[in-house]
């Protein structure tokens, strides 16, 4: 087996981890398993793609459309990513306003909200398929050559960038949640929403912040996956099981746990591809999930944000 597995696993795991953080946050603060989260990744990728389509021509006209340094994309992509993340956030806030928030207000059972998320997930994905067709799309057509990075491993600059971006985002989020007043409020709401109200925390605002963070990270994860592989309407749905497995493996509510869970699943997938065969890759998350449920249902990091 070549050491290349490690870096492949890390790269896939970074995407899963970023997505799983959003999932774990909504799980612990809104208290339901959100089946639409995978589709937020796909929507994020497509929205970014659309914006970058508009922006690409504009920037090329300004003469700054060329790829930045060793990367395969120009300034258009980071700018479109910002816009795409913003739009994804708007999408989730609207969805919360018209669907989840309504159900919460009526005191619906958790499982009814889960079911609504399942229905919404199907609808969201199919809207993508209708607008963009099922054909894969690409954020960049530039070819990249993998460079040696030591220990017999190779990676493209784009791949290394995604790992760096993930590390930065997770660090930033970790600081926000552990140090800032917003993070404090989030932890408080996840522990006891009704007491949070007594303390003067506006729970609805915390819920909105949670959607903003979750959707923003989902968009970044979707774009990363789109940059390294391709963009398809089903990309998010295919990632959903790994996301759930990572969130549960890390311990629902734990940000470092979700990232670690994501990395473990990414690595497990990479090893499976090497040892068993690529066709069984999608089954890895299920095996991990079942093992976690049998051995340690609380996950690696228990239940704290």
């Amino acid at each position: 087996m070549s050491p290349q597995v490690l870096i492949d696993g890390l790269i896939a795991g970074a995407t899963i981890g970023l997505g799983a953080i959003g999932l774990t946050l909504t799980y612990s603060i809104l208290r339901f398993a959100n089946f639409t989260h995978g589709d937020f990744l796909a929507w994020g990728a497509y929205l970014t793609l659309t914006v970058s389509g508009f922006l690409g021509g504009l920037l090329a006209g300004l003469g700054i459309g060329e790829p930045i340094g060793p990367f395969s994309f120009g300034w258009g992509l980071p700018l479109s990513l910002l816009a795409g993340a913003g739009l994804t956030i708007v999408l989730t806030l609207i969805l919360d306003k018209i669907l989840f928030g309504q159900l919460r207000r009526r005191g619906a059972d958790t499982i009814i909200i889960v079911m609504a998320s399942f229905g919404a997930s199907m609808a969201l994905r199919s809207v993508l398929e209708f607008i963009y067709t099922a054909n894969p799309q690409y954020l960049t057509r530039e070819l990249q050559i993998a460079q040696p990075v030591g220990f017999g491993m190779r990676a493209t600059p784009d791949q290394l960038l995604t790992i760096a971006v993930t590390a930065l985002l997770v660090l930033a989020l970790h600081l926000v949640v552990t140090r800032s007043s917003t993070g404090r409020s989030m932890r408080a709401v996840s522990e006891n929403p009704s007491l949070a109200g007594v303390y003067g925390i506006d729970v609805q605002r915390v819920i909105r912040v949670t959607w903003v963070i979750g959707a923003g990270l989902a968009c970044v994860a979707g774009v990363m996956s789109g940059l390294l592989v391709q963009i398809r309407p089903y990309m998010g749905f295919d990632l959903l099981l790994p996301l759930f497995a990572a969130a549960i493996l890390g311990g629902v509510g734990s940000i470092p746990g979700a990232l670690l869970g994501g990395l473990i699943i990414g690595l497990a997938e990479a090893f499976t591809v090497q040892i068993v065969g690529a066709e069984w890759r999608a089954g890895v998350a299920f095996v991990v999930l079942v093992l976690v449920l049998i051995i340690r249902p609380t996950g690696l990091f228990g239940r704290t944000v």
Partner: protein
């Protein structure tokens, strides 16, 4: 000057089965009122509903003259209605300091640090290890933290749900001493208590709730002799006290 008033107030968890059945009273500014009554009479439900934690099924609540019926609990906290629940009244997974910091966000930025220090001075136990998780505190210290959290914002009206529950007599004494100081500083207090003796020592007026209805409302002096009280709690307590 009325600090807080309820009129025809109904509350409960099930719209068909109100636990508080049409209660009316008004609390004057600076008054200390205790809500007494046998178990299951609806005392806790009453103040939880005033604090926006249990659904109000009818009637009206006013705070300083403003209608606050159905206002969510966080907004009540901002308007200066402090509430200390009986159990689960602190965030066990946050540190002691963080518990106070959350509450401090209701006061202006420049006063926040000062208010937290003030609370640490008032409850020196909390100052010992402010960065430990609040879940590591003992029962009495938890009540201190809960009280400190509520007092930090200098609320004009403070409601407490059985602050003495589960505390040793010495700690009960400490808690009531603190409450007396708070009251002396001009805070209007509404106190649900099982510990009648302690509550009567602090409050000047008692509301007695029986089966979700107000059975008695008057100065505590009338209740000071223990035969009346004994009858209230041990004997045929309902009808005669009511009317």
């Amino acid at each position: 000057m009325t600090a807080l008033a309820v009129k025809g107030f109904q509350a409960g968890y099930d719209p068909d089965l109100p636990i508080v059945k049409g209660v009316s009273f008004a609390v004057k500014k600076g008054e200390a009122v205790t809500v007494l009554g046998p178990n299951g009479a609806g005392k806790s439900t009453l103040i939880k509903a005033i604090a926006g934690q249990v659904a109000c099924l009818g009637g009206q609540v006013t705070l300083g003259g403003d209608d606050i019926t159905g206002v969510p609990s966080y907004a009540l906290a901002k308007r200066g209605l402090g509430f200390v629940p009986q159990t689960e009244n602190i965030f066990a997974q946050l540190t002691i300091r963080e518990n106070l910091q959350i509450a401090s966000e209701l006061v202006e930025k420049r006063r926040r640090a000062g208010q937290i220090d003030k609370m640490f001075d008032m409850f020196p136990d909390l100052k010992l290890r402010p960065n430990d998780l609040a879940g590591t505190l003992s029962g009495g210290q938890r009540q201190m933290l809960a009280a400190a959290r509520a007092l930090l914002t200098d609320p004009p009206v403070l409601m407490l749900d059985e602050p003495s529950a589960g505390l040793s007599p010495k700690l009960v004494g400490q808690v009531f001493e603190t409450l007396a100081r708070v009251h002396a500083a001009g805070v209007t207090l509404i106190l649900v208590e099982q510990n009648v003796r302690a509550a009567l020592g602090l409050a000047s007026r008692a509301l007695v709730l029986v089966d979700g209805e107000l059975a008695h409302d008057g100065p505590t002096d009338a209740l000071q002799d223990s035969t009346t009280l004994g009858r209230l709690f041990l004997g045929n307590r309902t009808r005669e006290v009511a009317r």
